[in-house]
């Protein structure tokens, strides 16, 4: 069997249903073979788009996203997408073409050392030098991508390897002696966490993307209920704990345990709770700098418990009192059993002062904006999207103000309903990610909330959406600025707005039409809802241009280098 055919047989074994790709000389043998196999190929317009689509597909579905690109520039164009997936622990396999093995190292046409380039931003990578290794490598690549702390794996396929033949045999087991992720949490450590939590008076659960990856939202909800602890999330965690819950009559009401997001643009109550909690229970988080603010003043009163599957995430940024290495689901299940075996008595009474304090914070400084009659406020558009969808949509974002407003004003109740580039902060992520998510869930409403700057970074994928009938919706919150740089310049750089003004952008409605998509525009607050309603009805890609109030800021904001309690509130 030829390498190109082995490639598809392996993908079938892994249950791959869609590849995001772009052909080129080095991978044409694979494209030649493609029509014989029942795997959908989405032809992108730029390889960065392919990588983000595979990423969006993976985040929305939990399955491994796959992309296929050619050597040289095809491969380098995926690098931002690979790094994005690496920072946010997204399972992805990127197949790159490579020049024939005899030419490697000779600076051949479209040759690049993609393994070298991606080494620091992949979980692992392979250059397949012999067709006999191909099925084993692909098996390992998928296994590595989805297990432990997931991440992207690059598989570099030289052209002569793809053309060579061998017997096809898919290995049943992987043999990776250096790779044994700890799934089962150490019961002794879980017991220590239990003891600490039992004694806590003002505990706080800080949950992150690890909850979503390990599919342990139910366990999180259960443990929060058992110990009656408020919950805050990192950006990556949003959706893992419901912002709203149904009351006795089935109506949605705010979840009393929910504090909103923490960190640089976190809610007042979440940031204050971090500073006052006596125990912080971090689950599937990595205490990154956008969460902690000034590290020496982070959680000054708290003992910290930290569960993570990646030992290197523990005690990297903050010193942890009770480290627990393991899968969040496993660790939480053990903890739940301990608390169910011996429930906390009178916990509501013990917690009353803590929740009184939290409720006072909530009441004192809620997230807020004022919607007047003339200018559309960006937050208003996000609230309307939430209202009209009932929160039942897959939301993707680009990076910037709109991303933070989405995190603040869209109330996420379900895991995998927000796909956003948290770690790398990749502008241009949201739109292709939405296309990928829509491929995983063709019948769901997928909406990219974008800014006018970010959307232009991968706008070419409009063509991909149109040509493949992928009916994603894009809501551009258009303020003709790079809003977050502009806001920082206003607050921290003497209002020197160098480089942040985006006047001169294209007419997005006409642009959508030129691509064969639908373009809609809202100039006034009253037009927001009709535009959204119309867009959600159309089974086609729709680009919505909301001309919003230009100098609206994201608040609260913690100035860089400050403690997270030093929030600027407006």
């Amino acid at each position: 069997m030829r390498g190109a055919q082995i490639f598809f047989e392996c993908l079938k074994k892994e249950g791959v249903e869609v590849i995001f790709g772009f052909p080129g000389g080095a991978v044409l043998d694979i494209y030649h073979e493609m029509p014989k196999h029942n795997i959908r190929h989405i032809l992108v317009r730029h390889e960065q788009g392919a990588a983000h689509m595979a990423d969006g597909y993976a985040r929305a579905s939990g399955r491994v996203g796959v992309c296929l690109v050619t050597s040289g520039p095809g491969a380098t164009n995926t690098v931002t997408g690979v790094a994005t997936a690496y920072m946010d622990s997204v399972p992805m396999v990127v197949f790159t073409g490579q020049v024939p093995t005899p030419l490697i190292g000779d600076d051949a046409f479209q040759e690049v050392d993609i393994i070298g380039i991606t080494r620091p931003c992949t979980k692992h990578s392979y250059l397949v030098r012999n067709v006999n290794d191909m099925s084993r490598v692909i098996r390992e690549a998928f296994y590595l991508a989805r297990t432990g702390r997931p991440g992207p794996v690059v598989v570099d396929l030289p052209k002569d390897v793809i053309q060579a033949s061998t017997d096809f045999k898919y290995p049943k087991k992987v043999d990776l002696p250096g790779y044994r992720p700890t799934v089962e949490a150490h019961s002794g450590q879980v017991k220590r966490a239990y003891e600490v939590l039992r004694k806590a008076k003002s505990p706080l659960i800080f949950a992150g993307g690890g909850i979503i990856i390990s599919d342990s939202s139910q366990e999180l909800i259960r443990i929060a209920d058992l110990i009656q602890a408020p919950v805050t999330c990192s950006l990556m965690g949003l959706g893992c704990f419901p912002a709203g819950i149904a009351d006795a009559k089935g109506r949605r009401r705010p979840n009393p345990l929910w504090l909103g997001m923490v960190g640089m643009h976190g809610t007042f109550q979440a940031n204050m709770a971090i500073s006052q909690a006596d125990v912080i229970f971090g689950v599937g988080v990595r205490f990154d700098d956008r969460v902690t603010g000034k590290i020496s003043e982070f959680a000054p009163k708290a003992k910290i418990i930290h569960i993570d599957v990646d030992p290197s995430s523990i005690s990297k940024n903050v010193v942890v009192d009770v480290p627990i290495v393991g899968d969040c689901k496993n660790a939480l299940q053990q903890l739940i059993r301990l608390f169910e075996g011996e429930p906390l008595e009178g916990v509501s009474d013990v917690r009353r002062p803590w929740f009184d304090q939290i409720n006072a914070w909530k009441k004192g400084h809620p997230l807020t904006y004022v919607q007047g009659s003339e200018l559309i406020k960006p937050q208003y558009v996000i609230e309307k999207i939430w209202e009209l969808t009932g929160g039942d949509a897959i939301i993707t974002t680009e990076v910037g103000q709109h991303q933070m407003w989405t995190a603040q004003f869209f109330e996420f109740d379900r895991p995998r309903s927000l796909l956003t580039s948290g770690g790398l902060g990749t502008m241009g992520y949201g739109f292709p990610a939405a296309i990928g998510a829509q491929m995983a869930f063709p019948d769901r409403l997928v909406i990219d909330i974008a800014g006018d700057g970010s959307i232009q970074m991968n706008i070419q994928e409009l063509c991909t959406a149109v040509c493949n009938d992928i009916p994603v919706k894009v809501a551009i919150l258009n303020n003709l600025y790079l809003g977050l740089p502009r806001q920082w310049q206003e607050l921290f750089y003497e209002k020197n707005y160098t480089g942040s003004c985006m006047e001169g952008s294209p007419d997005f409605v006409k642009l959508a039409e030129a691509y064969g998509a639908i373009g809609l525009r809202a100039n006034k607050p009253g037009e927001v809802e009709p535009v959204l309603r119309e867009a959600f009805k159309i089974r086609k890609p729709v680009l919505m241009d909301f001309l919003v109030s230009r100098e609206e800021g994201v608040y609260p904001i913690v100035p860089p280098g400050k403690s997270i309690t030093e929030m600027l509130l407006a």
């Binding site: 080494r119 692992h124 590595l144 990776l176 002696p177 250096g178 020496s296 290197s312 990297k316 010193v319």
Partner: protein, 166 residues
């Protein structure tokens, strides 16, 4: 944050001998801003396994991150943090030293004292081989430096734990 003093640490890394493995290890150090003082790598008695010995500087927190990050590399089988165990370490240096008639005797005396070996002789130079721990190499180089070192090649440290548990 743990605040502790910068120290030198010796780390043993057992890796699969596959293409690019050394690049993964040293790339991790440069990418994350860790320091490499010396690094040696060669195959072990077990086919397919290479042992890297690496000397780094940093505080305890950095050392702990280095060990964890190394363990994350798929091709790394085992990491030995020698700060917690007794270990033996050796380094070898090949030193080409100026050896004109008036200084030859002195060079040979130093060779004798340090149990070094003369491995090549030419009209104006002796080439010596010396093995020992770092301070011994340092000491002989200082003495020979006064006579005139022309070139030096040092291997960097190789180390193994003393106890049997590793």
């Amino acid at each position: 944050m743990i605040i502790s003093e910068k120290q030198r640490y010796t780390i043993g890394i057992l890796v699969q001998n596959v293409p690019g493995v050394l690049a993964r290890v040293v790339g991790l150090f440069s990418g994350r801003g860790y320091n490499i003082e010396t690094v040696t790598a060669a195959e072990t008695h077990e086919p397919g396994l290479t042992r890297i010995t690496l000397v780094t500087t940093g505080d305890e927190r950095v050392l702990s991150q280095i060990v964890k990050q190394l363990n994350k590399l798929i091709n790394v089988i085992k990491v030995y943090d020698f700060s917690e165990t007794e270990f033996v370490d050796r380094e070898m240096a090949i030193i080409k030293v100026r050896a004109e008639p008036p200084t030859r005797a002195e060079v040979l005396r130093i060779v004798d004292i340090f149990r070094a070996k003369v491995v090549d002789v030419s009209p104006h130079f002796y080439t010596l081989e010396v093995t020992g721990n770092e301070s011994k190499i340092q000491a002989i180089m200082e003495l020979l430096g006064q006579i005139g070192i022309v070139e030096v090649a040092r291997t960097g440290k190789a180390a193994l734990a003393r106890s049997k548990k590793h």
